[in-house]
Amino acid sequence: MERILNTIGLSLLALCFVISLSRIAMLNFGERTEAGDKVIEIRMAHWQLEGGIRTAIDAMAKEYMKRHPGVRITQIPIPERIYRNWLITQLVGGTAPDIIQVGMGSTDEHMARFFVPLTDIAQKPNPYNKGNDFENTPLRDTFFDGMLGGFNQNLLEYYGVPISGHTTRLYVNLDLLEEITGSKNLPKTYEELLALTKQVDDFSQNGGRQIIPIAGSRYNSPILMNTLFISQTQKKMLELGPPGTLTENAARTTEALFEGDWGLDSHEVRSGLGLMREIAEEMQPGFMQVTRDDASFYFVQGRALMIVTGSWDATSISQQAGFPFAATQIPLPSKQHPHYGNNVVGIFTEAGGTAGMSLGLTRASKHPEVATDFLLFLAGRETNQLFTNTSKWLPSVLGVEPDPQAKPFMMQAEGYNPGFPLVGPSGRADTNRLIANNFHLLVGPSGSVEQFVAAIRPNFIPYLLIDLEREERVIIQGIQRMDVQLAALAEVARSKPEDAMAQAKFDMISAATSARDRTAYFQQHLIRKAKDRVQQDSK
């Protein structure tokens, strides 16, 4: 009896093993179509779990699979919170999907090592635009931003095909707005926004129903607060120079800080921080501890009148909210504002906004030609139209009619460049951590601008120095790689004088290397100034 039971057990084990073995073999060696050809699987990963996107990708994938029966497209949505870690693990482990959304967690080094440059296809017409007026237009010129959203400034190659565009807006619950104010007029200036929040406070006190004027969270609030802050440094940015500075340049802004052209005590920074505190008082207490989902929850539940978020949340909100809502540009202080107006130049332009949701091709792809073909399909006008119609997100291809729901989010071209932020690039991990750890002093009920500034002042420059040194290492690492690439392209150009592409690439890389060299030297210059400043401050 025991022997029989043992045999049964062992047979079951063997059977399970054989089944899993055959499944693995099938996956490894490929399924077959009815005709006996191998089914090619293309896996595509992204972090856009917002409403509408997965459906849109499914729809596009189905359309592609209809046209190419031997291909199967598998979508892999990964939560944003863990995307960075997941991406690094997949890339380093060699198990990355064929197509990956780039932009979060992917450094230049990752791009160079693990992704295939798409510059070649960017310069040729997209076969999926055959029959329309883009038939002979290079792929990059079919995007509203010239495909800059997929261009890596440091590596000088296109690494992604962007399929959407994004803007940030102030969303307003129209029913609640009418209930509170008696009209559906949206605030056009910061003054009007603040007045509206006061009306909401009065309504909450007298109306018996607790309504949050602006739903805040540690994700949403910085969008609003940083926009208001950079409205105050707009004029200063133009003054900082050197001549030709029309856009914010982190290196130049940092140098100006060390030279004393601006600082934690300068009036534009204090105004910016004051604006941030003022608007924070109109968000729910403890908003910095809640997440994006919580803030969205307050808004769709009708507990908050307004929320600031991107166009990426519009579909999710419309699916969950049981009320009509409108989206408007984040109101800035008008020039007539007695306190904040003097620092403002004008409304921000969104003209230079780059296309988003950039999809890159990994070197780990077993079928790069098919994956590239799928990317080209996604970049086609027809498919982008399908994308916007299904997802309600903004399109990235010119000539695509945005879905009516996406129209309020269209980029506002006319306007001026915004000012500079307090810290600069998000890669400045230590300085950003200093701000984050003391932010409660700025926005907390018993906090103030003075307390916040006093708390960050001792470590502001020292932490910035640490971040600058880290940045320098990254820049130098990048140049070290570019040097080898420069040598390689120089040799190829020398060996193939008739190859126009080789000459053009060498031309580009030599110009880019010079630009990176200038950046590196200026960075070292900044570090010297930072060290001088730290020494000066310690005396």
């Binding site: 960075r84 870690n85 690094i88 890339l91 380093v92 967690g105 450094t107 080094e109 990752h110 090592r113 693990f114 607790q210 949050i212 540690r218 729910q284 207490p285 403890g286 908003f287 910095m288 501890q289 809640v290 919580d294 307050y298 507990r303 991990a429 230590d430 951590r433 984050a436 750890n437 003391n438 932010f439 409660h440 907390g444 009920p445 018993s446 880290r470 290492r473 990254v474 690492q477």
Partner: protein
């Protein structure tokens, strides 16, 4: 205790050792290899990809000057002490279940204790996050309804903390001074299923004759606990103590989910594990994070050795 055999005999039975090869291989690949890789990379400036530069002991000397890392040990120290006290409810519940005279009821209580284990820890964390919500969370609502909030406001007024203010919801995870208390409060009533089961197993090894003798001597229930049950389950208590220390020192999931990568306002929730995560994934300093991990490993090893040497249980 297995009988010793000579090396010659062991070699003759070499075929038996092949049984452990698969397990050894798995342990080697999934446990020892990552650890070895971390040790290797701690001597490099490494950003997680292919680019790495050998820098010798620079990472370790940087640790000595890393005040965030050292400050995080203060937080973790407080949490370890709090977790020691948080072991008490599990012991208490195990004793209560053990003293039930009905085997059937014992069984059902054990099932009730184990059932919440089905819920993933992450879900519990998110529920607690909601509890801590300043505006709509259960915790603030209960404090308001019971009048404890008013009491806290008065005490605040006496000591001038500036944390509890009338009319302003308490931001449990938004106020630096409340971060550590929130991390301690988390998980109330602190009854862990694993702990209860381990203690219960220990209690069930106590013979009934011991209890009979105690009854004859007129020992009170509390004295029974203090002089009979607690001493006889000290092995389990010691085991749980070691596991708790290792888990608390290494853990950062709680702080990450509740407070974010920066450790919350004021960085008050920063613990060594979270700092490691921060350095690796935010600052891109994977080599440095490996060095931090190595340091933490040595620290925990030393603590475990001290525990093994000095926290002895007389049999």
């Amino acid at each position: 205790m297995p009988l010793p055999i000579s090396a010659k005999k062991a070699l003759l039975e070499w075929k038996l050792y092949l049984f452990i090869v698969p397990s050894l291989f798995a342990v080697g690949l999934f446990s020892y290899f990552p650890a070895a890789s971390a040790i290797y990379h701690s001597f490099f400036r490494w950003s997680g990809g292919d680019v790495k530069e050998f820098i010798g002991f620079d990472n370790f000397t940087a640790i000595l000057q890393d005040h965030v890392f050292w400050n995080s040990f203060i937080t973790i120290g407080i949490l370890v002490v709090a977790n020691v006290f948080k072991m008490i409810p599990s012991i208490f519940l195990a004793v209560l279940i053990h003293r039930l005279t009905s085997d059937r009821w014992q069984y059902w209580y054990r099932v009730l204790v184990v059932l919440p284990m089905i819920v993933p820890g992450l879900v519990t964390l998110f529920i607690w996050k909601f509890f801590f919500d300043p505006n709509f969370g259960v915790l603030n609502n209960v404090l308001d309804a019971t009048g404890i909030k008013t009491l806290l406001v008065s005490i605040d007024g006496l000591f001038n903390w500036g944390i509890f203010q009338a009319g302003i919801p308490i931001a449990w995870l938004g106020e630096p001074s409340l971060i550590v208390p929130s991390l301690i409060i988390w998980g109330f009533p602190w009854i862990g299923a694993v702990g209860v089961l381990i203690f219960l197993a220990g209690l069930q090894s106590i013979g009934t004759e011991v209890y009979e003798a105690a009854d004859l001597d007129g020992v009170t229930p509390f004295q029974k606990f203090l002089h009979i049950e607690l001493p006889l389950i000290m092995t389990q208590v010691r085991l749980m103590f070691v596991l708790m220390i290792i888990g608390t020192l290494q853990g950062y999931g709680l702080q990450f989910l509740l407070l974010g990568e920066e450790g919350g306002p004021g960085g008050k929730g920063m613990v060594p594990g979270l700092w490691m995560f921060n350095r690796a994934f935010l600052a891109g300093e994977f080599g440095y994070a490996c060095a931090l991990g190595l340091f933490l490993f040595v620290f925990i090893l030393i603590l475990t050795m001290i525990n093994n040497k000095y926290v002895r249980v007389d049999k």
